[in-house]
Symmetry: C2
Subunit: 223 residues, 2 copies
């Protein structure tokens, strides 16, 4: 069975997965990079970013890396919202090709949800497809393209919120960072009782974040 | 120095410290008792509640009890909001004496913030004083009564939010329960950047909750 999984979605204590005022210069808006500081020193990120000047990995990051590494396993396609693919207004810029340069870190088909579809774009091992679709339709398309593997719901928080609300997510890994953003994109809006069909595991790590993993119980999956 | 401390304030993942629709039958509203399930089995609660049929303490609750026990140490007065003292409408019931029976668990002066003051009430070792006051004024009154000890800001979440916003809290211990309430009383509203002057420690325990403790840094206290 092909699962729909969310990984490494960092949120503030007050539930924001990105700040307000996102822009080309500030992809996370007024949050800056504070939501991702736990991630950058991990071996997984160092590997993804392919830095030539890779520094020694601090053993204190190992617990965070156990989580970071999972997002790379058995994923055959990704779905992302328009707000992850580019800054506000990218839809009007025909030359915009995402944040990730010539070799994006996905290495799979990526389905970008947008009301302004454009032709598919291949960069390195990643092909971006642009579509106007409901979460259900997008997940179907991604599953068709995933070759039997899982689908990662890549974010941002608004998109993940829609997939959670539609009951489509089998595994949700959030990383809670103990800061208060006050404004931005809310992950938890309108999800009263959502946890009911999930088991949950929490772990704090030396970086100070808390990893919270929801896994759909088999009973719920059988319904 | 007399500190203002918050302890054992349980919140949902989406930041609600109490549910909606609070009433005499449901002090936490639609949340039921789910925010407090980590607390009831602890030795501290068993001691507070003074149950004659005290059951054996499960060693798995020891980590939670380390936190629960701290709330009892060196506190000389408590401040609580009207929503903690009674269900909606208690102000119109001259006979209402709080939820706690003849021997409330406070054993100190308790200052109840209300727009409907009434004469002070002594039950056992606890005296309730009722006052209309700003957070600053209430804290001053409580400190005067605390005999050099600390003041506990006892809740509910709306009252704690007001004290946090006013910059009056030296220590905040929240207990995050991995449920989504969707509605109710928000702890975090309007507190962007509040964490700046605090150090933070997080710990997950076998009960599945995460204890998050903010402590004002000495730099901040000196300002």
């Amino acid at each position: 069975m092909s699962l729909a999984r969310v990984h490494n979605l960092a949120i503030s204590l007050d539930g924001y997965g990105a700040g307000a005022d996102q822009s080309l210069e500030s992809p996370f808006g007024h949050a800056g990079m504070r939501l991702m500081e736990w991630f950058f020193p991990t071996a997984s990120f160092q590997g993804i970013s392919g830095s030539r000047e890779r520094t020694a990995i601090d053993p204190a990051t190992e617990a965070d890396d156990r989580y970071a590494a999972r997002s790379l396993v058995a994923v055959g396609a990704e779905i992302m919202g328009a707000a992850k693919y580019g800054p506000p207004g990218w839809q009007q810029d025909a030359d915009w090709q995402g944040w990730w340069g010539d070799e994006p870190p996905f290495h799979t088909p990526v389905f970008v949800l947008t009301h302004h579809p454009r032709p598919s774009l291949t960069l390195g091992e990643t092909t971006f497809h642009f579509m106007t679709a409901t979460p259900q339709e997008a997940l179907e398309a991604a599953r068709d393209a995933a070759g039997g593997l899982d689908v990662r719901i890549g974010g941002g928080p608004t998109t993940v919120n829609e997939f959670l609300a539609a009951g489509l997510v089998d595994m949700l890994h959030v990383v809670q960072v103990p800061i208060l953003l006050g404004r931005g994109s809310q992950l938890w809006a309108g999800l009263e009782g959502w946890e009911r069909d999930y088991s949950v595991e929490s772990e704090t790590t030396p970086s100070g974040v808390t990893h919270i993993t929801f896994t759909r119980t088999s009973d719920a999956a059988a319904r």
